[in-house]
């Protein structure tokens, strides 16, 4: 009975200690401002958007899922 109580509490304490250590480690992180992070995300998009086939589609001859011939409708 005595051991049972001690074991439960020590297990919880061990878990709580780990949580505190984890949080201490996360607190040490070097963070950047959202404005800088956003600018970098945008820059990456901008640099690669012209090669993104779902935004700038390639001609049918290069897209194997499309028909080889070119079909279209006038709007």
């Amino acid at each position: 009975m005595k051991d049972g109580i001690a074991n439960n509490s020590t297990a919880s304490i061990s878990q709580a200690r780990k949580a505190v250590e984890q949080l201490k480690m996360e607190a040490c992180m070097d963070r950047i401002k959202v404005s800088k992070a956003a600018a970098d995300l945008m820059a990456y998009c901008d640099a690669h958007i012209r090669e993104d086939p779902l935004i700038m589609p390639v001609p049918a001859s290069e897209n194997p899922f499309r028909e080889k011939k070119f079909f279209c409708t006038i709007l």
């Binding site: 200690r17 956003a38 945008m42 006038i74």
Partner: protein, 412 residues
């Protein structure tokens, strides 16, 4: 049995343990608040505000190009081969099928010893597939060129969890596999020996998904779970290096932004979110009041500008990652979309559904053309939005044709 009263010595010890626990919990809460404070200090602007100056994307019309039929029950997972044409899929019917998505032919089929094969992955070499589910294992099947060979005979059991396998992924080679499980852990395994190389503890409930960081950005991966947390892990040390808890329900899918600096998540709370790793916070939410069903699966287009989400209301919503707006909605599946992946070269995306099928889709595009002598001429391939100038402005207007009427066309 009557519990005997504690003797004074035991009582003191118990009180001391409880005090230590309480003290640690307070310390934990204090650290958490400090963390939030630090994160908030750097929250100087919203992503969509910064993105206001970015050119809009215009309209998208997505179309299904292939439908893969053959599973006898819900499709639960799929993955592309690096050759950009083969797909592996797994189903509640216990089958794992390898398809040639161009021709829709089935190239291989394996029957697993369990139903609900919830995870499958293609090996980087294209020579093997991994899968698992309710069997609590991840097994690797080398793919034989001999169609008559029984794949099950060469099966290799690699991972062993104590609950269902929810996701699996090869690392940069065929030699290692990363798994996530309903047992609340992730693990890294050596395929040849089946040895456990590293385990990752930290989630408080089932882990549902994982994604490896793009190889250039180092040895990390992100996982999402039923504890509403998305955790970023160091693969070598097993340490959780960052944790995000802003979702209001289970996280079903996580996917890295192509630069490796951020990742997206999809959740049962009907939202997708974007987390930036260097700002260490959520930077965007992709949601609409009209969208009330959970997101099962997310993936980015090649440039990271589009985020595709498969939803439990049978639709696929496509989001402008920077502006936070929805640019397209795709119908077609007749039941939940359970899995979604963009192809390795970004030309198409594939979805799997509880309606037993998989679909391969891409988009129609608009372009400016000139009718000259009954023929349609397009000078340079210049896609555009139907009501907006072309996304890429090129000097295509030869003086000779400048007075001819330009029309906007949509490809089929």
């Amino acid at each position: 049995v009557q519990r005997s009263p504690l003797i004074p010595e035991m009582a003191t010890q118990e009180v001391q343990l409880n005090e230590t626990l309480a003290h640690l919990k307070t310390e934990s809460e204090t650290l958490k608040s400090k963390l939030e404070e630090e994160r908030a200090k750097l929250h100087d602007v919203e992503l969509h505000q910064v993105a206001e100056k970015v050119e809009g994307l215009g309209q998208f019309v997505m179309k299904t190009r292939r439908t893969l039929k053959g599973h006898g029950n819900k499709v639960l997972c799929m993955d592309w081969c690096k050759d950009k044409r083969r797909i592996v899929s797994s189903s509640q019917d216990g089958k794992v099928i390898v398809w040639d998505a161009f021709t829709t032919n089935k190239e291989h089929a394996v029957t697993m010893p369990c139903t609900w094969v919830m995870a499958c992955a293609y090996a980087p070499s294209g020579c093997a597939v991994a899968c698992g589910g309710l069997d609590n294992k991840c097994s690797v099947y080398p793919l034989s060129l001999d169609k008559n060979e029984n794949l099950a005979a060469k099966k290799k059991s690699v991972a062993m969890h104590t609950n269902y396998l929810s996701a699996c992924s090869f690392t940069n080679s065929d030699m290692q596999i990363l798994t996530s499980s309903g047992d609340g852990t992730c693990a890294l395994w050596d395929v040849e020996s089946g040895q456990l190389l590293q385990s990752f503890h930290g989630h408080a409930a089932d882990v549902l998904c994982l994604d490896l960081a793009p190889s250039e950005t180092g040895n990390t991966f992100v996982s999402g779970g039923c504890d509403k947390k998305a955790n970023v892990w160091d693969m070598r040390s097993g340490q959780c290096i960052q944790s995000f808890e802003t979702h209001e329900s289970d996280i079903n899918s996580v996917r890295y932004y192509p630069s490796g600096d951020a990742f997206a998540s999809g959740s049962d709370d009907a939202t997708c979110r974007l987390y930036d790793l260097r700002a260490d916070r959520e930077v965007a939410i992709y949601s609409k009041e009209s969208i009330i069903f959970g997101v099962s699966s997310v993936d980015f287009s090649l440039s990271g500008r589009l985020l595709f989400g498969g939803y439990n209301d049978y639709t696929i919503n496509v989001w402008d990652v920077l502006k936070g707006t929805r640019v397209s909605i795709l119908f077609g599946h007749e039941n939940r979309v359970s899995t979604l992946r963009v192809s390795p070269d970004g030309t198409a995306f594939s979805t799997g559904s509880w309606d037993h099928t998989l679909r391969v889709c891409d988009d129609c595009y608009f372009f400016i053309g000139i009718k000259y002598n009954q023929n349609l001429c397009t000078f340079n391939f210049t896609p555009c939005a139907p009501d907006k100038p072309p996304l890429s402005l090129t000097a295509t207007h030869l003086p000779k044709y400048s007075n001819l009427k330009k029309h906007i066309y949509r490809s089929t």
